[in-house]
C-alpha cells in the first residue's frame, strides 16, 4: 500500500480529469469554443513527454556516474514512454488543429504544420528515434549503455533551446509567442481561467503519473528478463 498510493492517486486524478474535463463549465472564446477542453489532454501529453524525457536524462547521468546497468534500463524505458506521449500529443493536437486552425476546407496541412512548436516536438521525437537506432547498432551491452547515455544527455541538453526558446523568438499560433499578449499559458496566473486551472493541474499530475507507472511496469519486466546480468533480485 505504501508503495502504490501514487498509482491510486493517478487513477483518481484521471477519473476526475475525464469527468470534470468533459462536464465542467469552460469559458467559450471565439473559434476555440468547447475545444478548449482538449487542453486537459493535449497539453498534458507534452508536459508528460518532457517530464519523462527528463527522468530518462537523469537516469542516464546516474548511469554514467556508477555504470550500474539497471539505470540504463530505466533510461531506455522512460525515453520510450516519453516518445509514446509525444505521439499522443501529436494526435490530440491534430484533432484540435482540424477544428481551430484549418479555416477553409481544403487548406493544405503544410501551411499549418510549419509551426515552431510542432518543429520542436518533431525534433524531440527524431532525437529519441535516433537514440533507439543508436542502441540498436551495438552488440556489446556495456558500450551500448555508455554511448547511448552520452547521446541521451547531449541530445536532451540541445533539446531545451529548440522546445523552449525558439518558439518564443518567432511567431506562432500557440500561446506564448511574441506578438501575442499571452505569457506562458501553463504557468501564468492571468492566462488561464481559474476554473480550468482546477482541472488542468491535477490532469498534468495524473497523466504524468500514469506515464511513470507504465514505464515502471516495462522496467520491472526488463529487470526480470535480465536478472542474470544485473545480479539483483
Amino acid at each position: 500500500m505504501n508503495k502504490s498510493w501514487w498509482k491510486i492517486l493517478s487513477f483518481l486524478l484521471l477519473v476526475y480529469t475525464i469527468v470534470a474535463g468533459f462536464l465542467w463549465e469552460v469559458p467559450r472564446l471565439d473559434i476555440l469554443n468547447e475545444t478548449i477542453r482538449n487542453l486537459y489532454f493535449h497539453v498534458c501529453m507534452w508536459f508528460g513527454m518532457m517530464i519523462l524525457y527528463g527522468i530518462s536524462f537523469a537516469y542516464s547521468i546516474r548511469y554514467l556516474r556508477g555504470f550500474n546497468y539497471k539505470y540504463d534500463i530505466y533510461a531506455t524505458h522512460f525515453a520510450s514512454l516519453g516518445s509514446l506521449f509525444g505521439v499522443l500529443g501529436y494526435i490530440t493536437g491534430a484533432i484540435w488543429v482540424s477544428v481551430t486552425w484549418v479555416t477553409q476546407s481544403g487548406q493544405s496541412l503544410g501551411t499549418v504544420l510549419k509551426e515552431p512548436k510542432l518543429i520542436g516536438a518533431a525534433i524531440a521525437l527524431l532525437i529519441y528515434g535516433a537514440y533507439f537506432v543508436l542502441r540498436g547498432s551495438f552488440t556489446d551491452m556495456d558500450k551500448k549503455a555508455r554511448v547511448s547515455a552520452v547521446y541521451n544527455i547531449f541530445a536532451f541538453v540541445m533539446l531545451f533551446p529548440s522546445i523552449w526558446i525558439i518558439p518564443r523568438l518567432v511567431g506562432s499560433l500557440h500561446p506564448g509567442s511574441p506578438g501575442s499578449d499571452s505569457g506562458n499559458p501553463a504557468l501564468d496566473q492571468n492566462d488561464l481561467d481559474a476554473g480550468m486551472r482546477m482541472v488542468f493541474y491535477p490532469a498534468v499530475i495524473g497523466w504524468t503519473l500514469l506515464g511513470i507507472w507504465l514505464a515502471t511496469l516495462r522496467i520491472r519486466l526488463q529487470l526480470i528478463r535480465d536478472k542474470s546480468i544485473t545480479h539483483e533480485a
Binding site: V133, R146, V150
Partner: protein
C-alpha cells in the same frame, strides 16, 4: 594543457597536409554538389531559395568533412593517444581542427555559390561572418556525433541520423539570421540576440563535449 591541445591540432593539420587526397576529396565534393545545383536549376534562384540551398549544402558538406575525424583513427593509434593525452585535450584538439577545416570549406562553398548561382547577398561581409559562425556550430556538433558514431563502428549514415535532429534548431536559427544579409531589416537588437543565441549554443556544445567525451574515450 593548452600546449598539448595545440600539438594535437598541429598533428591533425600535418596529417591533412600529408594525406591530401582526403582534403581534395571533400573539396571536390563541395564543387560537384554545387555544380549539380547549378545545372539542375533553370536560372539563378531568388534569395530565399538561395539561402535555404546554401545551408542545406553546408550541412552535407559538414557531415562529409567531419565524418572521418574519428573513423580514420585506427585502434592502435587511439591507444597511443590514450597514453599521452587526456580526453579533454584530445577532443579540444579535434574540435579546433574541425572548426578550422569547416570554416575553410564554408568559404570555398560560399565562393562557389557566388560564382555559379549568382549573388543575391546585399551585405557580403555580414553574410561571411554568419557563414563562419554557422560553420563553427555545424562542425562542433558533428565532431561529437562522429565520436559517438565511431564507437558504434558505423558509417557516415549514423552520423547523419544522430546529428540532423540535434542540428536542426541551430540550422533554422542560421537561416533566419542570414536574412539579415539579404537586406531584411531586423527589429532593434534582434540580430545580436540571434547571433548571441547561436554563439551560446556553440559554447554549450563545447562544454558538453568536454563533460561527455571522457565517457566515450575509454574502451
Amino acid at each position: 594543457m593548452f600546449q598539448r591541445v595545440l600539438t594535437l591540432l598541429k598533428k591533425d593539420l600535418l596529417l591533412e597536409l600529408r594525406q591530401q587526397h582526403t582534403f581534395y576529396g571533400v573539396l571536390l565534393y563541395v564543387a560537384s554538389t554545387i555544380f549539380v545545383l547549378y545545372l539542375s536549376l533553370p536560372d539563378a534562384p531568388e534569395s530565399q531559395v538561395w539561402n535555404s540551398l546554401f545551408w542545406v549544402i553546408q550541412l552535407f558538406v559538414c557531415v562529409n568533412t567531419v565524418a572521418k575525424s574519428f573513423l580514420a583513427e585506427s585502434r592502435g593509434r587511439m591507444l597511443y593517444f590514450y597514453s599521452i593525452a587526456s580526453p579533454v585535450e584530445f577532443i579540444l584538439g579535434k574540435l579546433l581542427f574541425n572548426v578550422l577545416l569547416m570554416m575553410l570549406m564554408s568559404l570555398v562553398g560560399l565562393a562557389l555559390f557566388f560564382f555559379f548561382l549568382d549573388n543575391p547577398v546585399t551585405d557580403a561581409f555580414r553574410f561571411m561572418g554568419i557563414v563562419l559562425l554557422g560553420g563553427t556550430g555545424l562542425s562542433l556538433v558533428f565532431t561529437l556525433m562522429s565520436a559517438i558514431a565511431a564507437k558504434a563502428q558505423q558509417n557516415a549514415a549514423l552520423i547523419a541520423i544522430l546529428g540532423f535532429p540535434v542540428i536542426l534548431p541551430q540550422l533554422l536559427l542560421l537561416m533566419r539570421l542570414s536574412r539579415a544579409a539579404f537586406g531584411e531589416i531586423f527589429r532593434e537588437g534582434a540580430l545580436w540576440q540571434l547571433a548571441g543565441l547561436t554563439a551560446g549554443l556553440d559554447i554549450l556544445v563545447v562544454v558538453m563535449a568536454i563533460i561527455l567525451f571522457p565517457y566515450l574515450w575509454k574502451d
